[in-house]
Assembly symmetry: C2
Homo-oligomer: 412 residues x 2
């Protein structure tokens, strides 16, 4: 099946600058796809710090298990990513394939296996034959360079219709540091985490603890705020790497909230948000980008549950696909969330058009104005609950026939 | 939009026999639909007991509020149902419309307003103009008869493609009692409750407490076990009525577990299950009826959460629509349920074909045999968790392009 580029894809993508200490190379290993890259190697200079956020699935993939086992050490020298086979639900064979891959990469790069991180994406339940990875990774280790970011982003795609990259720069003291990120994902996307892989690298001199704090915090607002279809993958993985090469005298900033990182935190958040929004923009079959902004909930957690109830509702998402300002379905989705809400305090907007006010249709409701907003490519839903100060914004896309087409015949 | 009859609709429907003390009539009130019945009146003999299960939505409709306020009294003389307007999210106007309707019915039938129960189904957020109901209900009160069941089932439909009726008989002591039921629902269907209306009536001599126990218990296994799209309505209502006219000397059976009710309980469960399964069979766009049988969970509640995670997964449901034996998506849906599960103890069947065994593809897995099962009209998914004795079966349908069509252009 040919995948047409999402109509929500960015018009252009930035060139990602080199980051000292990070090199990449990709190649076609021919595991599942023909005529395209599907194997990626990233290498890092000695001393690079790592942080990660992994799927909460009870049926996590073998590479996720591997990462979970080794993240605690805090250092990384390489990442291997393959597309086409998730190495998930593959039993002991899967664990052995993961170990074999890490050992092959360690040999090729010249490091310990526990310094190699792994991610696999693709079909679940097919045994991954990693026997050829040894030769492939040796080759890739000779090919790595610091300008391979665009090709790397292409190599990790599955049903993605465009490759996803983001970059930002920030000042830390007298130094300018760079943050580059790549990601993939377009289906099986739901929070905890969006079904996706994301890799962010920087030359900023931060400790692994500080990096983990920043990564976890921003993941909550970005990758975990997006949902395409409420389905959470067995393979979700976001890893962040800091080479520290922009630092002076090898000193690391240990505290994520250090004022020296003020600008860096913003740049890091920008890269994370940018990548997460690209995943929604590539939502399978998506024609509209939807934000769901919940305010006035009893807590942020409650606001998040309500936002996800709205963002995951098939009836809300099909109405948006049909450009129907059907706010009754928003009421339904708020009502079913199982969170404190008072029907008679509820107000709803589509864009700037107030459609419902304190439990009934807004007195000056204009169907025409609301419909006009629905016809745009970006739809903004705002709900004010009038219960407290909790707020959260979730991001999703519409649900179209194309989603059914893509997913009714993905595997075969 | 024309709604074609679901391919899963029953080939034929039974004629519902009269129940002493229950009379019905329907008419076209012209509220939203043209050329079809959309207003239903059921009347009950004095002394009829009532029980009910109502939506848990925090944004419940005005008729749901009305029923909740009056169910505690335990007696009923009439039910008014209208289709086309849900009288939900209509503020104080909605509450007044509900009260006005109940008062009009009370006047027409000759009872108290609190003995009248209400249900509305249709669009949310449109004020319901009940001013004409007074005349209509007076007319209906003169038309009610004991053979109006089939027409009644037709009058409460919205996007339903067939009307839903069920009947059963049982012996209680020397008497034969009858149980008739009608229901509607095909979208906005999810547990707690399936978005639906259901009305069950019997001449059995049971108390309102016993009736409530039976209704709550069976709802959990039937209406609350079905899901079409995970969306829970503001209007879900199941009401049961017992005229007691088959009883001797006016005595009521007070205990739902009384051995005199053994056969009745089975017949009651049969009617409830039959109606609930008809709702799944009329799932919007459905082409396949799917059962999800979870076994070996740590508890029944945990099994239910996992069953619903599978039954509500868009990726599982689109795979079924595509007749793809994609058991990796079952693994995904089990994994994301947030319930205790051990990947390496998990086994999965499609029909009788074991596709996964203890955490990996079953050794003698036959794609051909699994695909053959997927091509049938009824798909059975079984998951054995190997964790404990908890079990639950959920029922759903596949997710097709037709669902998107129906819901992308329902309101306009």
């Amino acid at each position: 099946m040919e995948l047409m580029r999402s109509p929500l894809a960015p018009a252009s993508q930035p060139d990602l600058p080199p980051i000292t200490g990070v090199k990449l190379a990709a190649m076609a290993a021919g595991l599942k796809y023909r005529g395209r890259d599907d194997l990626l190697l990233l290498t890092f200079a000695p001393g690079t710090r790592v942080a990660g956020v992994l799927t909460k699935s009870a049926c996590a993939s073998a590479p996720v298990d591997w990462c979970r086992d080794h993240l605690g050490r805090g250092t990384a020298r390489a990442v291997v990513v393959n597309a086409g086979n998730a190495n998930a639900f593959t039993g002991q064979k899967g664990a052995r394939a993961a170990q074999m891959t890490a050992q092959a990469a360690a040999l090729a790069v010249g490091c310990e296996a526990h310094e190699v991180f792994l991610a696999s994406t693709g079909v679940i339940g097919e045994p991954l034959d990693a026997t050829a990875f040894g030769d492939h990774l040796s080759t890739l280790a000779t090919l790595v360079s610091d300008d391979g970011w665009a090709r790397a982003a292409g190599a990790i795609m599955t049903t993605d219709t465009f490759s996803k990259v983001a970059t930002a720069a920030a000042r830390i003291g007298d130094q300018t540091v760079t943050i580059n990120g790549i990601a993939k994902g377009s289906g099986m996307i739901a929070p905890d985490m969006a079904t996706m892989l994301g890799f962010v690298a920087t030359d900023a001199p931060v400790s692994s603890a500080a990096l983990q704090t920043l990564l976890s915090r921003e993941t909550d607002r970005t990758f975990n705020a997006v949902t395409v279809d409420s389905d959470t993958s067995t393979s979700d993985t976001v890893l962040a790497f800091a080479t520290g090469s922009a630092g002076e005298h090898g000193e690391l900033i240990e505290n994520a909230d250090d004022s020296a990182l003020d600008e860096f935190r913003q740049a890091f958040a920008h890269v994370m948000r940018n990548l997460a929004m690209q995943i929604v923009r590539d939502g399978e079959g998506a024609t509209k980008l939807v934000s769901v902004d919940i305010r006035g909930a009893v807590s942020d957690a409650s606001a998040r549950a309500i936002a996800m109830s709205v963002a995951n509702s098939p009836l809300v998402k099909t109405a948006i696909a049909g450009e129907d300002a059907n706010w009754g379905r928003i009421v339904m989705a708020v009502g079913k969330a199982g969170q404190p809400a008072d029907r008679d305090k509820l107000s709803i907007w589509f864009g700037d058009v107030k459609v419902a006010h304190e439990g009934e249709r807004a007195p000056d409701y204009s169907e025409e104005a609301a419909s006009l907003h629905m016809q745009g490519q970006e739809v903004k839903i705002t709900v004010e609950l009038g219960m407290g100060d909790g707020s959260y914004t979730a991001y999703t896309c519409d649900l179209t026939k194309r989603y059914i087409e893509i997913n009714g015949d993905y595997r075969s």
